[in-house]
Symmetry: C2
């Protein structure tokens, strides 16, 4: 029996019960904005959008849906890139949006913990922390729209994973609603709790298929008072890894970012967004954007200089530029954060979010390019990403002047080449964006069979009717 | 139907099958050393000890036991403090010891990953890393005996959690055998992988009740070339937290330890282990042992001096001593690491491993002492632990000259006072030692009901016959 057979469409009777339970504004029509996603690949269906305003209201809504066997697709910021927030197939589910649960419940400067609701927008959480003199380090291009529930549901990564970890590492505990409508009260403010299975880590990254995160205890950090940020030209990805090794040995506790960017990214920016000031025209194909931060007395700029001098002598870098002001630092980061938008303007054939063990990363780049060129010699690759985490956004674009639509039939082959190679080298084909609906077949193809069996057993145990985000991540067993 | 009814004793037929499958030395009698634990509270039973020498052999043994419905108690270093490695009740299970799987399979200096088998002893793993110029930061008093499988099974904490996290944070992936004998191949070398549920984090800390970890990818770090270590006398636990806040703001990226110790610990050491050189006789009741480390140029000793001068002026510390040599630094740590042994010599009425949100920690200490003194005015409390993690080992001892056995009837009340208060203040009653068998009732008493239901569902889904570490953590539903 498949999920589709088990679930029923959300009919008027169910919607009326939900409207009565959720009150004014609690059930609204599914406007188009809820049914689109950033890359325009999926177009969703939904009978309605639920907008509960409390955890209890989420629980009530889930109980009504469970009772009626109606699928519930959780919706946070809608910025996911793998279709986790979009259900295309019948029967029509309801979307459950956290937009009215966007508050910060508490912020404690001794605990260094902020409790934020699932609908809190990342930029607001960061601002709130900053006003209290703290850093919430999760940072990514969509932070003005992405919401905490989605960021945790997908275990988002971003720019500062190197120092602070993935979203899961920034969360001490969650409050969540399970498929039976029960509420898990797990908003811990302690970093150590070994009383039982770690449901927090199970729910984080499960993309709303095992339970819906309604609030989270988020870890806060000191705001660095000294920050050093630099562009560094490197002769190759291998040299970039050597530079990273040197930086780890010297200032490993305080490096927060180490981004590798191919010059193609700057070409795309120049072509589609000429208003963005680019870094100096280095002679190398590859550039690193790196940053470190610490309290007063860390003397980071001088240590950056020492580092880069050592690296220059060793040939692991050829040139560099350290930001001389906060404005210049911001302009460096604007370049990095605008790359995804420039990519969308150009229009990729296929985009990939892979991670590769660092020891195999140069091999990945050396092999993937020729394999793709064999398909189409003029194909353009824009490879950039979080080298410190082994995470590359390896995006493949049509030759200059050609439209991506001409390559629709090639997409599956391109994707297979990239994913097969990432998998062969021991990497992941879904490093930070998650599985969603886009990569369900990839998980089956590349996933460990014992893991898949265990995942299906867990899904069936926690959501036996399969109402939570049906079809995302994994089909129920 | 309870687990006891479902499981059967390991009879001769099963032991013969196991012996045939595991070969020479694969099944041995259960010598007493396997059936005791450090605090002498539990005395186990086992029909035999299995000593598989490969992951495949573990899988075979598990299949035989599953087929015969025989319980399997995983056994690593035997150092656990909550009876997770000891099964007292019938029917007689088998112990599965990882002592013959103690190798390091690989070590990569670019990935900064070591793959170690479950039976690898922590001190050996640390040594192996050190010889390769890397740090494996997990460090705790029992590291000469504790093995990787047990450390991950219990999500061990230790001295360096503040900077490097708990055991789970030091592990990129696991290989494990599930209750059906299938092998999960998850030895990832990447820090980012969002392809499916995070089984690693589910297995870590599940104490062998959901699957047996057979090997793990462990994260390695640079060895700090500059280390600053200091004793700091603080007027109160609250002042210690203020000092920690100051240190975080100044050198937050590089502090690796911040241990709070009450002078009682030094009294116990002087009384029972006079050969251990103590720190200077500070005037305060409370002392902090703190350490930071980083690469060359970090200038840590000068920054420590600056910090402590600021703290002196603010009244958050009253005195201090920075180690002036590696030998002196080692002697500081010997004191800290010997405290548990001195405690065992004195003999506690009840020992507790609690974590408290830092904002409530002083309140915990202020309230717990008088509540216990109301039971017995001369009771001696030795409170020490990882303040940076909010984790206190809050151990209660009989009055001087009295024997702990005279207080056996008081133990349950003492424990309730401490655990009730930790729970009331939002803490955990099992911070780093786990649940084992000792705290199964505590998990039921203090645990979130929705979490307990989810845990039972997960246990039943992954181990339907309940053969894996029966009776530990949670009874199957």
């Amino acid at each position: 029996m498949t999920v589709k057979e088990r679930l029923r469409p959300a009919g008027n009777d169910v919607l009326e019960r939900l409207a009565a339970a959720l009150g004014t504004g609690g059930v609204v029509p599914a406007e188009p904005r809820y049914l689109e996603e950033p890359r325009g690949r999926y177009h969703g269906r939904a009978a309605a959008v639920l907008r509960p305003d409390s955890t209890e209201a989420v629980a009530t809504a889930i109980r009504i849906c469970a009772d009626a066997r109606v699928g519930v697709v959780p919706y946070a910021g809608g910025t996911g890139l793998v279709g986790g927030q979009i259900m295309e197939q019948a029967p029509a589910p309801v979307l459950l949006s956290f937009e009215r649960m966007n508050g910060v419940r508490s912020l404690d400067l001794t605990d260094n913990v902020m409790v934020a609701e699932a609908g809190a927008i990342l930029a607001d959480v960061r601002d709130r922390a900053a006003k209290a003199g703290r850093l919430f380090p999760l940072s990514l291009a969509s932070e003005g729209t992405a919401r905490i529930g989605g960021l945790l549901g997908t275990n988002a990564g971003g720019l500062n994973v190197l120092r602070y970890g993935n979203a899961r590492d920034l969360c001490l505990g969650v409050e969540a609603v399970f498929a039976d409508g029960s509420i898990h009260h797990g908003l811990s403010a302690v970093v150590k709790d070994n009383m039982g299975y770690d449901l927090r880590h199970l729910l984080i990254g499960s993309e709303g298929t095992l339970g819906l995160i309604t609030a989270a205890s988020l870890r806060l950090f000191p705001v660095p008072s000294e920050i050093a940020t630099a562009w560094v030209a490197v002769p190759s990805p291998r040299a970039a890894l050597d530079l990273l090794g040197l930086m780890r040995a010297r200032i490993g506790g305080v490096i927060s970012a180490f981004e590798l960017i191919h010059r193609r990214a700057f070409e795309f920016l120049a072509e589609t967004m000429p208003q963005i000031p680019l870094p100096p025209a280095f002679e190398t194909d590859w550039v690193v954007l790196t940053e470190a931060g610490e309290g007063p007395g860390a003397n980071l700029e001088a240590r950056f200089m020492d580092l880069f001098e050592t690296a220059l002598r060793a040939g692991t870098c050829t040139d560099g530029l350290i930001a001389q002001s906060e404005a210049q630092r911001q302009s460096f980061w604007t370049v990095r954060e605008t790359i995804p938008e420039a990519n969308r303007h150009v229009g990729s054939i296929s985009s990939h979010d892979v991670s590769i063990p660092p020891s195999r990363l140069a091999e990945f780049i050396d092999r993937a390019g020729p394999a793709l060129a064999a398909l189409e010699p003029e194909v353009r690759i824009n490879c950039f990403g979080h080298l410190g985490d082994g995470n590359l956004h390896y995006n493949v674009f049509p030759p200059k002047g050609r439209d991506r639509r001409a390559f629709d039939t090639m997409r599956a082959t391109v994707k297979s080449i990239v994913h097969d190679l990432a998998s062969e080298l021991g990497g992941s084909v879904g490093a930070e964006h998650g599985v969603g609906r886009l990569k369900v077949p990839d998980l089956v193809k590349y996933g460990d069979p014992a893991k898949l069996r265990a995942m299906r057993a867990i899904k069936a145990a926690l959501d036996p009717a399969g109402i939570l985000n049906p079809g995302a991540v994994i089909e129920a067993g």
